[in-house]
Structures are given as structure tokens and as C-alpha cells.
């Protein structure tokens, strides 16, 4: 793969590019879906594709293809070079400087053979066991959208005209269940999942199934509450969505365009003093880990928020030049276009409180276990989303709640973080422990 990428780079340079960068990816995916014990679908296939970005001076053009025939590769090079002749001169365009290129040296633990070694029948059996555990958990679990086992591996290669060559592999597998709970006319569904680079680290199917069932059951009997301002506690699955918003807010593309409520806030207090947020692309086994970013800059650990103070944005080489800063190794791209910004492992450091202690601190408030909708405005920080969860009274779960909204403004919400749980765990590249926000508007009746 990396040889092909290098070859494409030299062809682009021969065709007139002053700089070129080529990404080649290949991968294989497998999925087994089981519903009510029966196999519903099996999917297995592989694919590959290649993307090229060229610069002619300060103009850039890009192209991609899944056609690896000689004609397909010719066309890839020709169209990128032709497009670079029609775009605008952009003083900040360019590849990273040669001294910025390289790869993180640590063993990252991203690829395991055990995922590929499992037979289709074994994968189906895992999905079946997980769904069975959910269906057996309680008589009120009457239906299911199924259990699924997915696995994949991929290889990504990158080469550029400034001498960078690199390649790495990733494997992943996941197990998930979506049970449906019924009580009279009311139906509620929820899900649980486990995701891992290696089969060995996957949670047992029975625990995935039981957890999914507990969550669906916990939603039965939910009611709408009166509109009021109360403390709101986010469990890790919903707290991580607040971190996703924070990641968008420190994304260099939004910062230089002034399209983020955190633009221009470097060095200022943006969160409660207990809040420290890190982006670490070198965490062993992390879902956001990689030896180098999508421009060939080594992945690294960046302190983003330190005790409430915004210390760093997350940047690629373009946004770094726009802002007069250094890249943080967060370039991220598909195959087409200019690089954007992606997280390494972006997380809020755990605090001192057990989740039960946090719930116990709430006199009257909402424990949010599910969020839906897209009501987050990154420009202003305005936040309003649909929510479901559990009403808390005198520190104890009182009754399930649904069909309410929670609203506030992200810049105030991060300042209002009152308690941080000790329960940080990663189910993706972005993670947070249980978080308590001092007060938000719960919209209901």
C-alpha cells in the first residue's frame, strides 16, 4: 500500500505538482445480525480506495478513486493536478514542514489477529448469546431489534513529497443488542454495546445483553415532568456527547472562522476548576490512537483544558498557519478534499466521586440516560436537546422521565460542572465520566 502511495506521489510531481500527498486505504468488514434467535443477515466484503491531494504553489486540488487499474490511476493524478490549476491562491495552503513529520514510537496495540481468526458461526453464536441474555432477563422484554456482531480490519498508508512514508493497521470488533420492553400498550427500546480492538477484550455477551435489557426496562412507565430549572446529571454515555461538543468547539477550523463560542478564548477560564480535558492520540489501545495523523505528523498528547483554563485548540497544519500556532497532530481526512480536524482520544479526566455519590447529592433533578436531536449551536453554544432518564428526588431515583428537553448554553454548562465521577471508560474516541451540571432548564409540561 505505502509503495503504491509513494508511486502516486512521484507521478503527481512529474505531472507538475509542487507538493503531493497520497492516502491509500483497504479494509474488510463482517457483520452478523441475529433477531429472536434467528440469523437475520450476514455481510462480508472488502474494499480499497486511494486519495490524492496536490499543490501547485499555494493552490490545491484533490481526487480519489476505487479504480486501481492503470487508467484509473492516471485519471486520479490528472484530475487532481487539473483541479489545482483552477482553485485560488491560498497563502496558508501547504503540507506540514519536513521537521514536523514522523510517527509516534510507542506500541499502540491497534491490531489483533484474534478478530480475523473467529469463524462466522462463532460470531453468530456471540450475537445470539447476547440477544438471548437480553430476552431472558425479564418477561417484559417481549421483542428485539436484534443482536449484532461486527468486525473489521483496515490498513491505512500515507506518503507525501516531503519524504513521509507510513502505514498502520487497525482491527475492531463489537457486540450490540437492542431489546424492546413492553408494559401494556407502552413499548420502550434501548441498547448496549461493547467495542474493542481485540476479541479478548470484548465484554462477555451475557453482560452486554443484560445491560441492554436493564436499560430498556428502566424506561418503562416514563412520564413527562413540569418545566423547571434543576440540577442535571449526565451518565457517561450522555456525558460523552458534551465532550463531542467541546471537541467541535476547540476544532481549529471553527476557531479561525469564528464559528465557535470558544474562538479567541485561549488562556481564559472556560470551565469549572475541576475540569481538565486531554486529547491523547498515543493512548495504547485507544479508539482514537494512531502513530501519525492524516498529514504524517506524529500523534501526541495535548492538554486542552487545564483546571478550567483553555490551554490549546486542536489543529492541523493549515489551521495552525491560519492562527499562527503549531499543528497538534490532529489532521483527519477521508480520501477527498483538504484535511479537517479529528480527535485522538479526547476525554475529561475522572474526578473523585462515585456515581452513587453524585446522584445522592441531588435533592430534585434529572439523571439523563438518553439524548436525541441535533440542537447544539456551536457558534453560540446554545444547547437544547431531547432527553430521557430518571427523575431524582432526595438523592434517589424516583421515576423514569421521557419527552422532555434540556436546555442551556455550553459555555455556562462547562462552568457549572459541579461534580465529576470516577467512572471514566472508553467506548469510542471521546469519553467522559458521570457529570453533574448545577442547573439547566428541563422543558416538559
Amino acid at each position: 500500500m505505502v509503495d503504491l502511495a509513494t508511486e502516486i506521489v512521484s507521478r503527481a510531481v512529474r505531472a507538475g505538482a509542487t507538493d503531493a500527498e497520497c492516502t491509500a486505504v483497504e479494509g474488510q468488514e463482517f457483520s452478523a445480525n441475529v433477531r429472536l434467535g434467528e440469523v437475520e443477515s450476514l455481510k462480508e466484503a472488502g474494499s480499497k480506495a486511494i486519495g490524492l491531494r496536490v499543490l501547485i504553489g499555494r493552490r490545491s486540488g484533490s481526487s480519489y478513486t476505487s479504480d486501481f487499474s492503470p487508467g484509473g490511476l492516471d485519471r486520479l493524478v490528472d484530475s487532481a493536478v487539473a483541479l489545482a490549476r483552477i482553485t485560488s491562491e491560498d497563502p496558508s495552503a501547504g503540507l506540514p514542514e519536513p521537521e514536523e513529520l514522523g510517527a509516534a514510537g510507542e506500541e499502540l496495540g491497534l491490531y489483533y489477529e484474534d478478530v480475523a481468526g473467529l469463524s462466522a458461526d462463532d460470531k453468530i453464536a456471540l450475537a445470539r448469546r447476547a440477544e438471548r441474555a437480553a430476552l431472558d432477563a425479564d418477561p417484559r422484554i417481549t421483542n428485539s431489534e436484534g443482536g449484532a456482531f461486527n468486525s473489521a480490519w483496515s490498513r491505512r498508508a500515507l506518503a507525501n513529497s516531503r519524504g513521509f512514508q507510513g502505514e498502520y493497521r487497525r482491527s475492531s470488533c463489537s457486540l450490540s443488542v437492542v431489546p424492546v420492553a413492553r408494559s401494556g400498550e407502552e413499548m420502550q427500546r434501548d441498547y448496549w454495546y461493547s467495542l474493542s480492538h481485540s476479541l479478548a477484550a470484548l465484554e462477555p455477551p451475557e453482560s452486554v445483553g443484560r445491560r441492554a435489557a436493564e436499560r430498556a426496562l428502566g424506561r418503562l412507565g416514563a412520564v413527562k415532568v413540569e418545566t423547571r430549572r434543576v440540577p442535571v446529571v449526565f451518565e457517561p454515555r450522555t456525558a460523552r456527547t458534551l465532550l463531542e461538543s467541546l471537541f467541535e468547539a476547540v476544532n481549529g477550523d471553527s476557531i479561525y472562522r469564528h464559528a465557535s463560542f470558544l474562538a479567541g478564548k485561549l488562556g481564559e477560564t472556560i470551565a469549572a476548576p475541576e475540569v481538565t480535558v486531554v486529547d491523547d492520540g498515543t493512548m495504547p489501545g485507544g479508539f482514537g490512537s494512531s502513530p501519525f495523523d492524516d498529514e504524517g505528523v506524529p500523534s501526541r498528547r495535548t492538554l486542552v483544558v487545564e483546571s478550567g483554563i483553555l490551554r490549546s485548540y486542536l489543529l492541523n497544519s493549515y489551521t495552525a498557519r491560519k492562527l499562527g500556532l503549531k499543528t497538534t497532530g490532529n489532521a483527519s481526512r477521508g480520501l477527498a478534499g483538504n484535511p479537517g480536524i479529528g480527535p485522538g482520544n479526547f476525554y475529561l479526566l475522572p474526578g473523585p466521586y462515585r456515581p452513587e455519590e453524585i446522584l445522592a447529592s441531588v435533592g430534585e433533578g434529572l439523571f439523563v440516560t438518553e439524548l436525541i436531536g441535533f440542537g447544539v449551536n456551536m457558534v453560540t453554544g446554545d444547547y437544547s436537546r431531547g432527553a430521557a432518564g430518571m427523575w431524582l428526588r432526595d438523592g434517589k431515583p424516583a421515576f423514569p422521565v421521557h419527552e422532555v428537553t434540556i436546555a442551556g448554553n455550553l459555555s455556562q454548562m462547562f462552568r457549572d460542572v459541579e461534580m465529576i465521577g470516577s467512572d471514566l471508560e472508553f467506548r469510542g474516541a471521546i469519553a467522559a465520566p458521570t457529570l453533574k451540571i448545577r442547573e439547566m432548564t428541563v422543558g416538559g409540561k
Partner: protein
């Protein structure tokens, strides 16, 4: 025929691949060949910063055996690669082949809904569209300080061959132009966005909807937001303006009527055919046959002609949206709603263009009938939990209604409700049905497909608005 000319694909080849797919006893198989060429441009800070072209090609093979599906794909159209994919998909069934021989022949298309246009030409014209959008947005108001514009088109050739002998070819153009604007006054920064397109050629943006129109609308929204106050919270009467607010139907009823959820009995609408699920004022239709629309298709991604399906008639639930698999299991006719994101994905029931038919009320009378409520002109995205029926959608431009008049703009209002409940609370329907401008993308189980929505002005008696106070 595109695939014959370019890949020497003959009807005999298709028969051989389908035969291989059914070699283990599957009952039905189909092949989905896809060739997409895309081009896109983006403008930011008055510079064309990015220009991209790309090619994606592949073939998906699907085998049905009872309620089971086997699926495999290849990005290489060499015969041995397609045969390999067919063998992998075939293993969903376990037994001897039950087919004698398969004969396929190409069917004449029932619809011809969009123009056949060339792909890669018109680059300088596209660049000019970007510049015009940039200039118009900046000229709208001196407080507009950031403008981004994007143009993207895709030219998709598909060939679908099925083991019951159908071969359908379609050429599906899709274009989209969008403009984002930021307005600033002191520390107050607000955004606006507008765009449109469809299965149209480039001259659509010269004659039907110009970049200036999109740009001024994006700029206008950003400027309006500078004045906006916080949205209220709690239950209130809401009036939805015509057009894009039709996303209400997409979330509140559309997804819940997709046949896969209903055959599995996991939808809030399961088992309600023939029952009253909305106010008698509501007739909701899914129509994939409107010429040039973003959600329209001559044939769906399983080779069935698209159609107009009345989902809800005067409040009574009439039909679900079917794909091949669900219609086989439910014994219903396919409605032409089997869609997939690409050859790498299995088809499933999806919406095309979903809208409510016009009623009789004048929009201004509807607004006048509200003493205190919210008027929503434009929305961002929405989402639904089809099992509980709970859905949300976020208003990006809305106003208070006070004593029958639209007054102050408010920002940041997410609306949440229960699909069947909200549809019963529709008490007025305007005569001003409008379809959206062609910018919607719907996500389901990780697959994105282009869709359209539409609605006349409607009044919903009570729905929860999620502002800050």
C-alpha cells in the same frame, strides 16, 4: 448501456452471477452495480480552497432465503471478483440450488424524472456560482463577516438485475449548492444557512434557484438571529411554516411507517393499519415520482419503479413503505422504497419525498388564531425513536406569536413530542403546501440517502418547546 460499454457486462454474465448467488438454495438474489463520479468545490474567506473529483465503482450481491439476507460486495468488476462475492452471499442458505436457469432482460423504465446531463464539464460555471454566492451574502448586510459556499454533484449509474428476471438501468444525477453565513455585532455572532438542488442539471442554479437567492437567505437568517431572544420552555401551540418544516412528518410518522420496523412490531405505529393515527385534516404521502426532486428516483435501489404512496388519508393509516424483503414477508406489493447508500450497503425501506397535502386555511388566519405560541420558519435536523414514538426537531428560525401576530424572533428551540400524539393535535392545515429546496439527507442504521420533505402551514395545538425559559 453504460456497464456493457465500459465493463463488457452482458445479460449472460448477469445470469451467471445470479445463478452462482442462488447455488446454495437461496430463493431470490439481486445484483446492484454502481458507478459514481463526483465533483465538489468549496469557497471559504472568498477563496476557492478545495476542488475534488472522484470515482467509486462496485457491485453488491444479495441473497434472500426466507427472512434471512446474505450480502457481499466487490469494488472490482472483474467476473471472478463478482462470482466470489456471489458465492459468499450465497452461503446464507444451506442446501442445493433450486433454480433451473435464470433469464434476465432489461425493462423499459416506467419513469423519466430527471435530465441526463454530462458530468465533469461546467467547472468554470461552478466556480462562478461560488463567487456569486460569496458576493451576494457579503452585500446583504455589513454585519456578515464570514461566508462559506459549497457545490457538489454526483452522477450515479446503477444497474440492478434480479433473479426473477428484471434488469433496470438508471442514471441518477444529484446536485446541491449550500451557503453558510456568519453575522457579528459586538460579541454576538450568529449563523444562517440555506441551499438547494435536486436531480437537476447545472442550469437549475442559473434559472430556477440562483446562488444569490441562497446567499441572501443564509445572510438574512444570520442577521435575524442577532436580534433573537431566548426561546420559551414548556408546552405551547406551535405553527409550522410551509416547506422544510415538513421534517416534522419525516420524523413523527415517516420512519415509524417503514415496513421493516412494522414487520418486526417495534414501531409505535405497528398494527395500526386502518386506524385513526392523525387528525382527519392530515393526508400524508410519500412520492418518489416528482420530476427533478432530491428524493425522486426512476427505480429504487432494488429495481422496482418508485410510486406515490398514501401513508395516511384523512387521519387513517393506509400503508407502510415497503422494500423487496418486507413486501415478500408481509405479502404486500413493493412501493419502490427499497434504498441503499451505496453498493456496500443492504437495501431497506426508506422515504423518498414525504409531505402533507394542502388543506383549506389561509396561513395568515392560522397565525391569527393563536393567542400565544411559537411560529417555526426553518429547522435544522431531527431524530426519532421509532419504538416509543418520541421525536425531536430543532428550529433554527422561530418567532413568538402574541395575540395573533408574529412578534420577536427567538433562538435555540428544540421541539419534542410523540409522533401519533402530535399528529392528532393538528387542528389547522393551510392551503400553501410547499416542498423543501432539495437539501435533506436522511440517516438510518448508518446509511445516508437524499430525501425531500414538504408541508403546508399547520397548527399543532400542544407540543413541548425546549428553550431555556
Amino acid at each position: 448501456m453504460f456497464f456493457r460499454d465500459r465493463y463488457n457486462l452482458t445479460e449472460r454474465d448477469l445470469e451467471r452471477y445470479l445463478g452462482e448467488a442462488l447455488a446454495c438454495g437461496g430463493e431470490y438474489a439481486d445484483l446492484y452495480f454502481e458507478y459514481i463520479s463526483t465533483s465538489s468545490l468549496s469557497l471559504d474567506e472568498s477563496l476557492i480552497k478545495s476542488a475534488t473529483q472522484g470515482i467509486s465503482v462496485g457491485c453488491g450481491v444479495r441473497v434472500l432465503s426466507g427472512e434471512k439476507t446474505g450480502y457481499a460486495y466487490t469494488d472490482d468488476l472483474a467476473p471472478e471478483k463478482i462470482l466470489h462475492a456471489a458465492r459468499v452471499a450465497a452461503h446464507i442458505a444451506a442446501g442445493p440450488s433450486e433454480v433451473q436457469s435464470i433469464r434476465v432482460d432489461e425493462r423499459a423504465a416506467l419513469h423519466n424524472l430527471y435530465p441526463v446531463v454530462g458530468g465533469d464539464d461546467g467547472l468554470s460555471e461552478k466556480l462562478d456560482l461560488m463567487d456569486r454566492a460569496d458576493r451576494a451574502a457579503r452585500a446583504f448586510d455589513s454585519r456578515i463577516f464570514q461566508v462559506r459556499a459549497g457545490y457538489a454533484d454526483e452522477m450515479r449509474h446503477v444497474l440492478i438485475a434480479t433473479s426473477d428476471g428484471r434488469v433496470s438501468y438508471d442514471y441518477q444525477p444529484l446536485t446541491r449548492l449550500a451557503v453558510f453565513a456568519l453575522a457579528r455585532e459586538g460579541n454576538n455572532v450568529q449563523k444562517g444557512m440555506d441551499g438547494g438542488g435536486g436531480r437537476v442539471s447545472l442550469d437549475f442554479f442559473q434559472t430556477v434557484r440562483t446562488p444569490e437567492q441562497f446567499a441572501r437567505e443564509a445572510a438574512r437568517q444570520a442577521i435575524v438571529q442577532l436580534e433573537a431572544a431566548d426561546a420559551p420552555a414548556g408546552e405551547m401551540t406551535v405553527v409550522l411554516g410551509p416547506g422544510w418544516p415538513g421534517i416534522l412528518l419525516h420524523e413523527a410518522v415517516g420512519h415509524g411507517l417503514e415496513a421493516d420496523f412494522n414487520r418486526k412490531q417495534v414501531s409505535a405505529f405497528s398494527g395500526l393499519l386502518g386506524r385513526q393515527v392523525a387528525s382527519p385534516l392530515c393526508t400524508v404521502v410519500d412520492d418518489g415520482t416528482i420530476p427533478g426532486r432530491r428524493g425522486s428516483l426512476n427505480v429504487d435501489d432494488e429495481g422496482n419503479p418508485t410510486s406515490r404512496t398514501v401513508l395516511i388519508e384523512k387521519g387513517i393509516l393506509k400503508a407502510y413503505l415497503q422494500d423487496q424483503l418486507s413486501s415478500r414477508i408481509l405479502g404486500a406489493l413493493p412501493t419502490g422504497n427499497g434504498r441503499r447508500e451505496s453498493y456496500q450497503h443492504m437495501p431497506m425501506p426508506r422515504m423518498t419525498n414525504t409531505f402533507m397535502l394542502a388543506g383549506e386555511d389561509a396561513p395568515e388566519d392560522i397565525i391569527q388564531s393563536v393567542d400565544r405560541g411559537l411560529y417555526c420558519a426553518t429547522f435544522g435536523g431531527g431524530q426519532v425513536d421509532i419504538t416509543s414514538g418520541k421525536f425531536v426537531f430543532s428550529a433554527s428560525e422561530s418567532y413568538l406569536i402574541e395575540e395573533g401576530r408574529i412578534t420577536r424572533p427567538v433562538r435555540n428551540a428544540t421541539l419534542i413530542g410523540n409522533g401519533p400524539e402530535v399528529m392528532r393535535k393538528v387542528t389547522r392545515v393551510g392551503h400553501d403546501l410547499k416542498l423543501d429546496q432539495g437539501i435533506g439527507t436522511c440517516g438510518k442504521e448508518g446509511q445516508s440517502v437524499p430525501v425531500g420533505v414538504g408541508i403546508p402551514t399547520i397548527k399543532v395545538e400542544k407540543i413541548t418547546v425546549g428553550g431555556v425559559g
